[in-house]
């Protein structure tokens, strides 16, 4: 906790994938393929909408054994095969969690050994949002806790 205190409230996850960059980008942006990997554990995604272009919308229904919720947002940048930026919202995930928007940036860089995928998830709250929600995110947190 001490070490995170001086960091902005954002999250970085990175992974080397042994596949060409264009192939990885296609897996991120093709409806039939995103369902193969998005989510984790027993949580499976069903694509309701996926318009991969700047300003286009997406909506995924996330299904687990004990419940369902939606992840939806708008693509802000679609720069094949290097960069993808989109907003990230929840629906049916509890009154506090619904309506809270965060932002995801995915960057792909080409290496000899494959493709480096870097995910930045940021904007967990802004000052304006501070007073908007009276309750915590515990309901959604609980439901996600059962999924991961």
């Amino acid at each position: 906790m001490t070490t995170t205190a001086t960091q902005p409230v954002s999250l970085n996850v990175s992974r080397l994938i042994k596949a060409p960059r264009a192939r990885v980008f296609a897996a991120l942006t093709t409806p039939a393929e995103i369902t193969k990997w998005l989510g984790c554990g027993p949580c499976k995604a069903v694509v309701a909408k996926m318009e991969v272009r700047a300003g286009g919308e997406f909506r995924f229904r996330m299904k687990a054994d004990d419940g369902e919720f939606d992840i939806f947002g708008v693509y802000r940048e679609v720069n094949a095969p290097a960069r993808l930026v989109f907003t990230w919202n929840y629906a049916d995930c509890g009154p506090a969690q619904d309506g809270h928007e965060t932002r995801v940036t995915i960057e792909l860089s080409e290496l000899d050994s494959g493709t480096r995928v870097e995910i930045l998830h940021e904007g967990f709250a802004t000052a304006e949002e501070c007073d908007k929600h009276e309750h915590g995110w515990n309901e959604c947190l609980d439901s996600i806790a059962t999924l991961v």
């Binding site: 906790m1 205190a5 967990f124 915590g136």
Partner: protein, 126 residues
């Protein structure tokens, strides 16, 4: 007293969104401090620092104890732990997803195959 159950994670994240406030918390993570001590490293007035302290207090991130005329400020770690827990869930989500993505792409062994973005829809079966 701060009523913790009503303090939202949003308030925590909003409080943490400011670099000055993060440095204040960092300083408090070592030991409790007086307001004057907290203000010292910053090129800002006491009232400006007090304003940051009020935001942190409202978010339940610190406790204030009055000793005579002096205010002693102490870190309250619970809300931050909740916030970090939440971020940890996102981390697991993305790490799990990237593991699955790697499995999917590496299993299909298309590294050497040139790929073009296709519009063609595939059936749901693997």
């Amino acid at each position: 007293m701060v009523n913790y159950p009503t303090v939202s994670l949003d308030a925590t994240f909003a409080a943490l969104a400011d670099p000055t406030r993060r440095r204040i918390l960092e300083s408090l993570s070592q030991q409790q401090r007086r307001v004057k001590e907290l203000a010292k490293p910053f090129a800002m007035s006491l009232p400006a620092v007090s304003k940051h302290l009020r935001v942190l207090e409202k978010a339940g991130l610190l406790k204030r104890r009055r000793m005579g005329r002096e205010h002693h400020i102490e870190l309250e770690p619970a809300p931050m732990r909740n916030a970090m827990l939440w971020i940890e869930h996102y981390r697991k989500f993305w790490e799990g997803s990237l593991d699955a993505l790697a499995d999917y792409l590496e299993k299909n062994n298309e590294f050497s195959k040139p790929h073009q973005t296709r519009k063609r829809k595939k059936g749901p079966k693997k």
